[in-house]
Symmetry: C2
Subunit: 111 residues, 2 copies
DNA sequence: TCCATATTTAACCATATGGTTAAATATGGA
DNA sequence: TCCATATTTAACCATATGGTTAAATATGGA
């Protein structure tokens, strides 16, 4: 799925959508369940979800009546590649990056 | 300068603005010079620049008639912290990250 | 002093965005 | 078959966004 950086960053520029992404980090969710914590109508959430889909940040799979929303792990890739490729590598200090890498390696080896 | 993630991602969601940031990676520039490569009016560029300022991605310093635009190195920090903290660490594969870190360390030691 | 240069501000416009409510659609289950 | 549940679509609305041109502002320099 080819999406533009415009779509990606724009999808990320809304706090509701960022919260949804974080919720989906836990587990796949039905649209109704995604909507639950928000003080907002179901159609509004439905629209946010299609924006996230179009940006490649989630996928949706309809099983029966339920449309399951699933985080798309590679969705952020283009955005982060842009940011890293941007060259301002100090965006995160080296130390915490190395810590993250170690964590990642640990997790990998735990599998 | 406290800016929201909304402002940050939203500022990054426009290709003109991303191009401007990359231009400023080279060197500080006057507003007129920033505008030059774009097929767009000066006021339009001026607006883009204030959006980038408000998002904390650049700073502007007026010297004489000229308003110098300068990349704000830490501007991307909050956005990238969000993306990394998001947990999907595979956004960039470990290998290229390590390569980047090495490059960075080389550059640091070259100073 | 007066013109040129650099930039922003004002007023405007078309389209996008993020929300609403009401209606439509599709599936599940008694 | 018929109602309930899950979700989307349609129509609408207010405000934001990204552009325009014309005018205003401020500084530099002859």
């Amino acid at each position: 799925m080819h999406t533009t950086l415009d779509e990606l960053f724009s999808a990320l520029s809304d706090n509701t959508r960022r919260k949804i992404l974080i919720m989906l980090l836990e587990d796949d969710m039905a649209v109704t369940d995604v909507a639950d914590p928000f003080d907002m109508s179901l159609p509004a959430i439905s629209k946010h979800l299609s924006i996230l889909s179009n940006a490649g940040l989630i996928t949706q799979e309809k099983r029966g009546r339920v449309n399951w929303c699933k985080l798309e792990p590679d969705g952020l890739r283009d955005a982060s590649v842009w940011m890293l490729g941007f060259g301002q590598f100090d965006i995160v200090d080296i130390e915490s990056l190395e810590k993250l890498i170690e964590t990642h390696i640990d997790l990998t080896q735990a599998n």
